[in-house]
Symmetry: C2
């Protein structure tokens, strides 16, 4: 897994890292059951936002990302390509950089 | 934003991209209100998992990641460092690669 050690960890490399670690079990579990694990981590993130230490908060965010990437693996989504397509240019709402959307509007 | 164009998009570069796009509004909104937007996207992801097209699913995953990164910006978390620390070696549960944890156990 040396591909991420120079120049930072790409999203694609992280997705492959999680595939290598958990891919076999993830495929057997399927998307609905994987979403339950993801949702549980989202709940733990809420707790950490309220009462966690900075370290606990960082680890809960890491877990949420790991389970999101797991869902992407199970459903065959290239998450790096997806975020580049949606956010790689300017704001997908107003097409400006920085975003000039009304704060009450998405995104 | 050319830093992500060669060799893939690093998590750090994506976090900076979202900061550049939305950082001012995000800081004014704060973490609790940002979590509401994040949670709304999690709900939309559930819908896309059930009934979305492959493209809709990919875009909802991109949105969830964008709001997670937004939370990281608001709370000053380096998400790339966090996932490397937790998942950069082997499974944080069993310390093996691939993971050999019992499927009923985390992670």
């Amino acid at each position: 897994m040396s591909e991420h050690l120079s120049g930072g960890l790409t999203l694609g490399a992280f997705q492959r890292m999680i595939l290598q670690l958990y891919g076999r079990k993830d495929a057997a579990r399927g998307d609905a059951a994987t979403f339950l694990w993801f949702a549980e981590e989202v709940g733990e993130l809420a707790t950490a936002l309220r009462t966690g230490t900075p370290d606990e908060l960082a680890m809960e965010m890491a877990d949420v990302l790991a389970w999101l990437v797991t869902l992407a693996n199970v459903r065959g989504v290239d998450l790096e390509a997806a975020v580049l397509r949606k956010y790689g240019g300017a704001c997908p709402g107003c097409r400006q950089l920085p975003c000039a959307c009304d704060p009450s509007e998405k995104p």
